[in-house]
């Protein structure tokens, strides 16, 4: 996916493809997101959310972060969305599809969304100097390595996030134990 290699062999396809794929994936993500909130059927919403998550994984790939993309697919699309679907299917869904799709106070929501959009636009225009004008071309094999170094440390020292990583895993353990205790009828 390195544009340098592409121009050497293929000839002229890379930059257009990058832009094309960016707009494609971004458009899919936005369309999926819109579908999530507008569908009546909860399962349709969940499937649209999967589309959004997969598009975001593609965007990660374009940012030369293949490890994050892979983990996004495994954890989000393959684990969390399956859980969502389980819950949707086990809960009585027919009544919810007959209710109103949008909340009665939707103008307030629209105002809040527009405020957020204005905030993003102002940050983008005011801070334009911070964004580089060209994407940094990283070597491909390093995303996994870099994440590993940051999380686990390298050359015998602790990395910058090792402690946070261990604490986070302890928190997850506590959450799992709590879920088990709350749902089992008898231990």
């Amino acid at each position: 996916m390195n544009p340098a290699i592409n121009t050497a062999v293929g000839g002229g396809m890379a930059p257009v493809a990058t832009t094309f794929f960016f707009y494609l994936l971004g458009g899919l993500a936005i369309a999926g997101g819109l579908a999530v909130i507008t569908r009546r059927n909860a399962v349709h919403s969940a499937l649209s959310l999967i589309v959004t998550l997969l598009s975001v994984a593609g965007l990660y790939l374009m940012l030369y972060a293949p490890f994050v993309a892979g983990v996004q697919i495994i954890v989000y699309a393959g684990g969390i969305m399956v859980l969502f679907l389980f819950v949707i299917m086990l809960v009585n869904v027919e009544t919810s599809s007959k209710e109103r799709q949008f909340n009665r106070i939707w103008p307030i929501g629209l105002v809040a969304a527009c405020t957020l959009l204005a905030l993003f636009m102002s940050a983008f225009t005011k801070g334009k100097a911070l964004f580089p004008d060209r994407m940094v071309t990283l070597a491909e094999g390093s995303n996994t390595q870099q994440i590993a170094n940051m999380l686990y440390g390298e050359a015998g020292r602790m990395g910058p996030y090792t402690f946070a990583f261990e604490i986070a895993s302890l928190l997850l353990l506590v959450a799992i134990l709590g879920a088990v205790i709350m749902t089992k009828k008898k231990i």
Binding site: I5, N6, A8, V9, G10, G11, M13, N41, V43, H44, L47, I50, P66, F67, A69, G70, V71, I73, I74, A77, G78, G79, M81, V82, L85, F86, M89, L90, E140, G141, T144, Q145
Partner: protein, 430 residues
Amino acid sequence: MPNFIMSYLGSTVTPGQAGNQFWALIYVLIIFAGVSVAVMAMNWLERKSLAHFQIRLGPMRVGPHGLLQPFADALKLMLKEDIIPAEADQFVFWIAPLIGLLASFTVYTVIPFGPSEAVSDMNIGILFMLGISSLAVLGIVVAGWASNSHYPLIGALRSSAQMVSYEVAMGLAVVSAILMTSLNEKGTGTLSMIGIVQAQQQQGIWFIFKFFPLGFLAFAIFAVAMVAETNRAPFDMAEAESELTAGYHTEYSGFRWSLFMLAEYAAMIAVSSIAVTLWLGGWMRPFPNLLHAPAWDFIFSLFPGLTFGGLAAIAVLGTVRMPSHSFFKIQRFGLAAFAALLGFIALLLLVIALAGRSADASLAARFSEGIGHVYWFMLKVAVFMYLFIWYRATWPRYRFDQLMRIGWKVMLPISLGVLMLTAIVGVIIS
């Protein structure tokens, strides 16, 4: 343009690495056709093997020894009436088999049939495979939902719960194999499939034998988890006919059902390929480092031709033993033609192996080497396919709660233990 096409032929990397989209497309088409043929062959093999295990003959009429049976089945399924339950969700009903099919087939883009015989060698290859396999679960869940019927829904939820549970153990077993790839001088492992096989080549040992019994345990866990992952016996409670819950594909008829079966068999081949790549040395012939004289290379390069020659001999034997009644004339002719085809392929392979004897970079040598890679890989995968069928013929099935208990209470602790021990031993050794 012809320059673009031809420029790939000399390279030693996959089309993905070389950025050559044309050859990547060719490889994808070859893999698609190959997997379809493999699934049909697997269907035939399963029916004949099960029948022989059960002391009966299996399909014998449709084509000599039932060889055309998969075609007849495919034709029948395509011509069947497409029944959709009235209350079913049309769009979701349509898309469910496609999700499973897409997931099962997308995995093949990273499977390495050789050092450069893969569509693309992603540097997160194994991660990609695990991720796409977990997408297959969605297809099942959605299929059960779309049937709008109580029992398929329960069956689908059970199947997907089973798959998700065994994915955990599978992933941990895979990680312990990945750990072994980092036992080289640089100390860096790799997630790419081709890199894993090359690591086995460098370390001179298949990972199944490394740190015995740790490698073997990891392989055994993966071997059991992959049977549960593909919903095959003895873990096929969710789709068994004699149980109360009917299975997620009950409401699917005709072509849609065949898509599910296609996805299941393709997933079987895919997970077997992962097992072969991670633990059994991928495309490497036996003893590539120990017996590396050119004579040994030549002997092992004869194996593809000899295998097809053996198959041709079996077909000839079948022709000779067929009853010499006029009813069997067409079948004898068909089987003889099939034997001739196999013999021709055998001859071709032997000629290529002979021509590529010397270790220079001539076209025949490169062909012979590539064919050897693909052959050894497919041989190992074929052993796994036969094991799948053997398991189904021999063993009863586990009850669902026993299945889940094994997945969480037996597989997971063992795989965690193997992972930790592998890491400890790896650090001590290096």
